[in-house]
C-alpha cells in the first residue's frame, strides 16, 4: 500500500503530456547543468580546441601526465583523509546532538537550527583567517587537525539537515522510552533503535559532507596551504600550468566523488532492502 500512496490511480490514467514550454525548460536546465561538465570531459582528452567547434584530435596524454604528477598520489590520499575524517567527526558530533535535542530538549531546537545556518553566513575566507589567528599555537597552528575542525564547522549544515529531518520523521522520544522500558540503556537505544531508523538521513548527510569536503579549496589553501596539499590545491596549481591536465584532474575528482556517492547509496539501499522487499499490500 505505502508504495502506491503517492500516485493515486486517477492521476495516473490521465497523465498529462508535457507542453513545449516544459520540454524547453527541462532542456535548458539539462544544458545549463551538463555543458560545463561535458566540456571538461572533452577538454581533458582534446589535443587542440580553440579554432574549431569540436576538438581537432583526441589524446589520453593529459591523463598520463596527471597520473604521473609528483603530488598526485599524496594529494589524493590527503583529500580522502580529510573527507573521511570530516564525515566521521561530524557524524560523532551531529547525530547524538540532534537526537538529544529532538528527544530531550525540544526547546533548544530552534537555536540549533539557527546555529546550523551560521556557517553559510560566514565567508570561508573570514572563517579561515579567524581560525588561523585564534589557534595560533602548537600543535594546532596551521595543522591538518585545525583544518579538519574548520571543515567540520563549514560542512555541519550538510550533515545536520538530513539527520534532523530523519529524526523528525520518527517519534524518537516514544521509541526511546519504549526501548528503555524493555531494559535498553542509552547506547543500546542509539545503536539498535535510533541509528537504524535514521540511516537514510545519516547516509545522505555523509554523502553531502564527503562531496563538499573533497572539493574544498579555500579553507585548505588558507589554513594549511602546501603543508597538507589536497587534490583541489593540485588542480588549481595545474590550471596555471596546463588547462588540459587540470581538466583531467577535474574529471578524476568528479569520478571519485561519484564512485563514493554510488558506494554510499549502495550501502544505504542494502540497509533498506529488507524493508522494501516486504512491503506488500495488507
Amino acid at each position: 500500500m505505502s508504495q502506491r500512496r503517492s500516485s493515486p490511480q486517477g492521476a495516473k490514467s490521465k497523465k498529462a503530456r508535457p507542453t513545449g514550454w516544459q520540454i524547453a525548460m527541462v532542456g535548458f536546465f539539462l544544458f545549463y547543468m551538463f555543458v560545463p561538465i561535458l566540456s571538461t570531459y572533452v577538454f581533458s582528452v582534446a589535443t587542440r580546441w580553440d579554432r574549431t567547434i569540436l576538438p581537432e584530435g583526441y589524446t589520453l596524454e593529459f591523463y598520463q601526465r596527471a597520473f604521473s604528477a609528483s603530488y598526485f598520489a599524496s594529494t589524493l590520499r590527503n583529500s580522502l583523509i580529510l573527507s573521511i575524517a570530516t564525515v566521521l567527526v561530524s557524524l560523532l558530533f551531529i547525530v547524538p546532538t540532534a537526537y538529544w535535542v529532538h528527544t530531550r530538549l525540544p526547546r533548544a531546537k530552534p537555536m540549533l537550527d539557527v546555529l546550523m545556518i551560521l556557517p553559510f553566513g560566514i565567508p570561508t575566507v573570514v572563517l579561515a583567517l579567524a581560525l588561523v589567528q585564534v589557534y595560533n599555537f602548537a600543535p594546532l597552528a596551521r595543522s591538518p587537525f585545525l583544518l579538519i575542525g574548520a571543515v567540520v564547522v563549514y560542512s555541519m549544515p550538510f550533515m545536520y539537515r538530513p539527520v534532523s529531518n530523519a529524526i523528525q520523521a520518527i517519534d524518537t522520544r516514544v521509541l526511546t522510552e519504549a526501548a528503555q522500558s524493555l531494559g535498553a540503556n542509552i547506547f543500546q537505544v542509539l545503536k539498535l533503535i535510533i541509528i537504524p531508523n535514521i540511516l537514510t538521513g545519516i547516509l545522505s548527510g555523509s554523502l553531502l559532507v564527503f562531496a563538499t569536503v573533497f572539493a574544498e579549496y579555500t579553507l585548505t589553501s588558507l589554513i594549511v596551504g602546501a603543508r597538507f596539499k589536497t587534490f583541489p590545491l593540485l588542480l588549481v596549481e595545474f590550471t596555471r600550468i596546463n588547462g588540459n591536465v587540470a581538466a583531467a584532474f577535474s574529471v578524476i575528482s568528479f569520478t571519485i566523488a561519484w564512485l563514493v556517492s554510488l558506494l554510499i547509496l549502495w550501502v544505504g539501499s542494502k540497509g533498506q532492502t529488507t524493508k522494501t522487499e516486504t512491503v506488500q499490500a495488507r
Binding site: 517519534d171 516514544v174 522500558s181 524493555l182 537504524p196 524493508k275
Partner: protein
C-alpha cells in the same frame, strides 16, 4: 502492604502543579484505571511510575522498595504507549524479542517466550511482518505482547486505545482485560474515556487538576460519586442547584425536590441535587408516585442514541435530560407537555464549595 504505593507524590512543570500530593495504594494483580480530562496529571503520574519523569517530592514503592532512584531501564516495568511505539526497523518477532535480548535470555527460552506471547495476543501469523504492515489494532496487540514478554512486575498502559477506531477499541479492551486477569499482572491503565475505565478496571482513580477526586470500584464511582466533578465527569448528571429547606427537601428553581436524609446539611445551605438521566421516568399524564419527585416539563429536543432516546426537557426554564427506552415509554413528540418522575434515592445531594 500494597504492591505499588505512591506516597505524597508531587510534580510541577514550570511552576504549575501537574500532580499534587498524590497518594495511592495498588494491590497486587489489580487493574487500576487513572481517569480524568486531559491535563489532569494522570499520564504524568504514570510516567513517574515508569521513571520517565522525576518526582519533585514523595516516593514510589514497588513491592516494598523505593524505585525512584532506579533508572527506567532497570525498573522492570512494562509500558504500552498510545502511539504503539513499535520499532519500525524490526519485524514483529524481533520487536517482541527485544526486551528478552536486553535481558540476555537464552535463545531457546527466548523463542519459546516469544511464541507464548504471540499466541496470547493471537497474532502468531504476523511474526515476520514489519509494524507498518499491520493495522493499528494489531500493532497495539504486538506492543502489549512486547511489554509482557519480559514478564514485568507491573504493566503501564498510557491511553492504549485512543488512536484506534471505536469497534477495535471495544474488542481490544476486552482482550487487554482477559490477558491481564489471566496473568494476574498488576496494571495501571490511563484513559480519558470513562466508559473504558468503568468497563475494564477493578478500581478507578478519578483525577482532576492534579488531585485525586475519588478512588473506588466502577460501581461506586458511578453510583456514589463523592464530588460534583466525579458526578458530572462520569456519565451524565442533571444538576439542580438550590437551598436546603427541610430535613429532606431542597428548593431549586422554584421546585420542591424531595431527597434522602439531609441531616448533614444546615438549613439554607447551598447544595446541588444530582439526578442521572436514566433514573428519570417520563409520563404523559400526571400521577401521584410515592417517595418520588414528580415535575412537569416540555420536550425541547429528542435525540436517538440507539438503545435509548435522550429527551431534552424544559423545566421552569432549566434544561433537564431524561433517557427513555422505546419499549417502556409512550411515544413522545416535540413540545409535548410531560411529567418527569424520579425516586428520592436517585437524588444525590452535594454541598456547593463556594
Amino acid at each position: 502492604m500494597a504492591y505499588l504505593e505512591l506516597k505524597n507524590v508531587n510534580k510541577s512543570f514550570a511552576g504549575v502543579g501537574a500532580v499534587k500530593d498524590f497518594s495511592l495504594d495498588i494491590e497486587k494483580g489489580c487493574l487500576v484505571a487513572f481517569l480524568g480530562p486531559s491535563g489532569c496529571g494522570k499520564t504524568t503520574t504514570l510516567r513517574m511510575i515508569a521513571g520517565f519523569e522525576q518526582l519533585d517530592s514523595g516516593s514510589i514503592l514497588l513491592d516494598g522498595s523505593d524505585i525512584v532512584p532506579v533508572p527506567p531501564n532497570r525498573r522492570d516495568i512494562g509500558m504500552v504507549f498510545q502511539a504503539y511505539a513499535l520499532f519500525p526497523n524490526m519485524t514483529v518477532r524481533e520487536n517482541i524479542a527485544f526486551g528478552l535480548k536486553m535481558k540476555k535470555t537464552l535463545k531457546a527460552d527466548l523463542d519459546r517466550r516469544v511464541d507464548e506471547v504471540l499466541e496470547m495476543v493471537r497474532l502468531k501469523d504476523t511474526e515476520k511482518r514489519y509494524p507498518h504492515q499491520l493495522s493499528g489494532g494489531q500493532q497495539q496487540r504486538i506492543a502489549l505482547a512486547r511489554a509482557l514478554a519480559v514478564q514485568p512486575r507491573i504493566l503501564l498502559l498510557d491511553e492504549p486505545l485512543s488512536a484506534l477506531d471505536a469497534e477495535v477499541r471495544v474488542a481490544l479492551r476486552g482482550e487487554i482485560r482477559r490477558i491481564q486477569s489471566e496473568l494476574a499482572i498488576t496494571t495501571v491503565y490511563v484513559t480519558h474515556d470513562q466508559e473504558e475505565a468503568l468497563s475494564i478496571s477493578d478500581k478507578v482513580v478519578v483525577m482532576n487538576k492534579g488531585n485525586i477526586e475519588q478512588v473506588g470500584t466502577p460501581e461506586e464511582i458511578y453510583r456514589a460519586p463523592r464530588t460534583r466533578f466525579v458526578a458530572t465527569f462520569i456519565g451524565t448528571a442533571n444538576q439542580f442547584p438550590g437551598q436546603v429547606v427541610g430535613q429532606n427537601t431542597v428548593i431549586s428553581n422554584n421546585l420542591e425536590l424531595y431527597t434522602c436524609d439531609l441531616s448533614g446539611f444546615a438549613a439554607g445551605q447551598s447544595v446541588v441535587v444530582l439526578v442521572r438521566p436514566e433514573n428519570i421516568q417520563v409520563q404523559a399524564e400526571k400521577s401521584q408516585p410515592e417517595h418520588a419527585n414528580h415535575i412537569a416539563g416540555v420536550i425541547e429536543t429528542i435525540t436517538f442514541h440507539g438503545a435509548i432516546t435522550r429527551l431534552g426537557v424544559n423545566v421552569n426554564g432549566a434544561r433537564v435530560v431524561a433517557d427513555i427506552t422505546v419499549a417502556n415509554t409512550d411515544p413522545v413528540c416535540l413540545n409535548q407537555k410531560i411529567w418527569l418522575t424520579f425516586p428520592v434515592d436517585a437524588c444525590q445531594v452535594m454541598a456547593v464549595d463556594e
